[in-house]
Symmetry: C2
Subunit: 434 residues, 2 copies
């Protein structure tokens, strides 16, 4: 009987998930692989003891004990953040350990260094849990869709942001109120910045783009806008137009350049992504061979993420047992075939837009505003006015045909400069129909 | 540079898909695997010549030439049906060839014989394309969700049936009319029996259950009802109750026994499976570690299915190149751990039901019918009556709480025996909330 020894750094939520998954599935994994997966050691800086179930697992406060333990085959890093996670992973690789991590922040910034080090030492780096929680999205992209040029990536990749938008949509509650409730329920962290400002989603998009296109995409390549400025009124208008507002990661592969953006997006209500609600994730790919595929499931959480980490551990364990390390390249393409991305400048983006203009309800205002859109080549598809026959400001809402970001920004500047406009115009991009 | 030589039996729709996928993705696959995948030979009984792009591929009318060719590594069987597909596959295995097939009908009936032969010769059998067309559902189940006990399988696995039901739902058109239109458009075959009677869906469910549970499930284990008796009126009533009617494959793993059924099912309109429309498939699993995951995409078609077949070819090619054949067991569990299923008797099934009773609109009729339900322990959740104040028969429609199939059949027999009931009662099962 073969044995694979796992050393875990970080016994937080996901760490516990992995530990319990390996424990509960021990017999099943043996029946599937002929191998016993043993959690040999746990390093956690703050922990005094492990739960009773893990009596045969060694606990240490020093991650280096795990990294240097000659008996350990796979080091699982689940502490998150940049340092000391980066150092631990690099040292583990240096010591010839295979590594599994869920650390999207680290990979989207220092991925290149880590994957180069791993290639040099011929060890594996598994990161299924870094995107889409329990959904096997990395494996689908690297293996299931191997015979495809990926044309698009579109997805809801952050459960917290999607939970907040879903609550706002269902109950009309303002952002701040839903956020506080989400924090109370444990759906949002005390510092929710990464989740609500789209940064976590951008981390994940960078990872997906890298393996989908064979390009070294970094966090800094991605234009990011969050959801904190979304107001219930825009969600209501979106509904009237037949749309839902979702925080989407969107990338289109133009061949010589690639789009890379994360922002609130109006999605047609019949679209599969519009039906992904609550804390769930939905990630879709369009491949030139397969067409459109979407994977849906829990994007976070102790056991779902533990499931993905365990899948990586098993994958690497099989490769150890069969002597076929790096049978599938870590980043899908062989290292020598991964190039540098040219990112489509945001100014060149072309998509339909939603605008909410706040203006005094005076005769001729609509004509002036539509005149400005016309001057910038922006064609209106439909308009709604929330008029009140008074001198109070009203909302005039537009849905446009496809326009360039460049012209849109100029048009908004012109509109917001009008005396009759009493608040900045709100702009939300629509999902391109394709 | 490594080379993998593929021999293809059957140059029909899916065969062409594989051939074009391997051609178009040749350079990409080389960049991902370091291996060139070559379509060496095609056998097709009816073909006189291959398209010009395949000038370096040998064409034969005799599949045995491919099966016995010592240069061929992987034999791809895409002729479908029982014979001669079974004989070709067994001979290929006998000759030490790895096999890839999309033949769900064959695997769900003769899978055991084929997988046993493959295990004996230590060759691989890939069958990703047999379920869910281009969606990498088999790989997700065998690898991505490896650390899970699968509790449920639920899915829309036949694009033709789903297309027909979607058209009936959107336009209120009767079944026969939509079927003829689907045949005209090429969405349904000249003989649509397998698709509309649920048999194709049952083939796929048998395969999924086998790998999900580690049990040898056969087509004959599955209770199958098709959609040909679904009427627009039931779709309309379902909508009023907040449901969509879908042809679902459903299996629940009770541990000591497993449900195995395919039938029209009322799915709550908020459920992800209710939003899978047209010719698409949606297949969901519930794992004890991960929770609910769904995969969505094109369930059929030349290129989507070609994508899945190509993924299997690449997977096996990697194993050949790295010398790790059967790194992942063909049926997920190692052969010695695959057991015999005990199928839950359909009579013991418990779920909510929809009934449409056709009765003369006389005083006291409702009381008699609800009395019969009560006698059989069936509790009504809601009722709608389409009364017309006349002697004409009317529809009385019920949605029940969970009841056993056994009692439901007795109740229907009692109701249909009433003088006032002028047509057989229609019964549609609801998706269990879980």
């Amino acid at each position: 009987m073969k044995e694979i020894r796992v050393g875990l750094i970080g016994f937080g939520t996901v760490g516990k998930g992995l530990a319990y998954a390996l424990l509960a599935q021990k017999e099943r994994l043996l029946q599937k692989t002929g191998t016993t997966f043993i959690l040999s050691a746990v390093a956690d800086i703050a922990l005094q003891s492990l739960p009773a179930e893990f009596s045969s697992t060694r606990l240490t406060n020093d991650a280096n004990e795990i990294i240097t333990d000659p008996e350990i085959d796979i080091v699982v890093e689940l502490i998150g953040g940049m340092e000391p996670a980066r150092t631990f992973i690099l040292k583990a690789i240096e010591n010839g350990k295979h590594v599994v991590t869920a650390n999207k922040a680290l990979l989207s910034v220092h991925g290149r260094e880590i994957f180069r080090a791993a290639a040099q030492k011929n060890v594996e780096v598994g990161f299924e849990a870094s995107v889409g929680g329990g959904i096997p999205v990395i494996k689908a992209l690297k293996e299931g869709l191997v015979a495809n040029r990926i044309n698009f990536i579109k997805g809801i990749m952050n459960g917290t942001a999607n939970y907040i938008l879903t609550q706002m949509t269902d109950h009309g509650t303002p952002f701040q109120e839903v956020l506080m409730e989400a924090q109370r329920l444990g759906y949002a962290e005390a510092d929710p910045t990464y989740d609500i400002e789209g940064i976590d989603t951008a981390h994940k998009l960078a990872i997906l783009m890298t393996i989908a296109y064979g390009l070294h995409v970094n966090l800094s390549d991605i234009t990011v806008e969050g959801i904190s400025s979304i107001e219930p009124i825009d969600i209501r208008f979106a509904k009237k137009f037949g749309y839902r507002i979702k925080l989407l990661a969107i990338s289109r592969n133009h061949g010589d350049h690639v789009e890379a953006r994360v922002h609130p997006t109006m999605v047609p209500e019949g679209h599969m992504l519009a039906t992904v609600n609550g804390a769930f994730n939905g990630i879709s790919f369009q491949g030139d061979t397969v067409g459109d595929v979407m994977l849906y499931g829990p994007g976070a959480g102790m056991m779902p993420t533990g499931s993905a980490v365990a899948a990586d551990v098993v994958d690497i364990g099989r490769n150890i047992a069969y002597g076929c390390i790096n049978r599938v390249p870590a980043l899908s393409y062989l290292p020598e075939h991964i190039g540098e991305p040219t990112i489509t400048p945001m100014q060149k983006l072309v998509c339909p837009y939603y605008f909410r203009v706040t203006a005094l309800d005076r005769p001729g205002v609509l004509s002036i505003i539509t005149g400005i859109f016309g001057k910038h080549g922006i064609s209106i598809q439909s308009m709604m006015q929330d008029g009140r026959d008074s001198e109070e400001p009203v909302f005039i809402v537009f849905r446009t045909h496809r326009a360039t970001e460049d012209e849109v920004e100029k048009a908004i500047a012109d509109i917001d400069a009008l005396d009759v406009c009493t608040a900045p115009t709100v702009k939300i991009r629509l999902l391109n129909p394709e």
